[in-house]
Amino acid sequence: MSVTVLYFASLRDRAGMDAETLPADGSVSDAYDALRARHDFAFARTQLRVAVNGTLASWDHALRDGDEIAFIPPVSGG
């Protein structure tokens, strides 16, 4: 089972990519913890929101094959 993860702003710079598709299971939390370790992201989960398939979701969302996940760091639009 694989999911696609989208990166924005400083997460994108840190990861060095816009997106990646990778094998994953468990929850969105589990995915972030693994990716945080891999890419050395500075943000704790409590500083982020998360979206699944274009909709805001909770951290305990159980991943399904093909899910598109986005981690939303603190915003600064406007």
Partner: protein, 138 residues
């Protein structure tokens, strides 16, 4: 007309203003967020905005709907620019028309406050000293 949109070119405020016209509307309020030449005491040369487009659009339209449910407006639009911007460029336009001016003021203010608070849009400042930085205020 009502709605939220992201654009990657210049915002044409006059054209957007024209879309707010409504014979029953006695008041039109417009907010434009403009790139400033300074930020937190540092000289700014320009900005880049990045958005999670699909979520920014759905959140933006949700914010517009919330504002319309709270304030009686005839039209309410918000357009946010993404990509590279220079000092003086318009980054975001919010406009409302309403029979009564209070509703137009309140709706525009609600939309810009909420878009800034919730919209998945990020600003990268380019400073005069060559440095640049994504802003993640908290």
């Amino acid at each position: 007309m009502s709605g939220f949109a992201l654009v990657d070119g210049a915002i044409d405020a006059s054209a957007l203003r024209a879309r707010l016209a409504h014979d029953g509307a006695g008041g039109v309020v417009v907010f434009e967020g403009v790139v400033r030449d300074h930020s937190d005491g540092r000289a700014v040369r320009g900005l880049a905005y990045q958005a999670y487009a699909v979520l920014a659009s759905s959140e933006g339209n949700r914010i517009i709907a919330e504002a319309r449910s709270r304030h009686e407006v005839a039209a309410l639009v918000c357009v946010h620019r993404v990509g590279e911007l220079a000092v003086g460029d318009v980054a975001v336009f919010v406009g409302a028309s309403a029979a009564h001016r209070g509703a137009a003021f309140d709706a525009v203010r609600y939309v810009i406050d909420e878009v800034k608070r919730r919209g998945p849009i990020w600003k990268k400042e380019r400073y005069a000293d060559g440095d640049s930085e994504w802003l993640h205020p908290r």
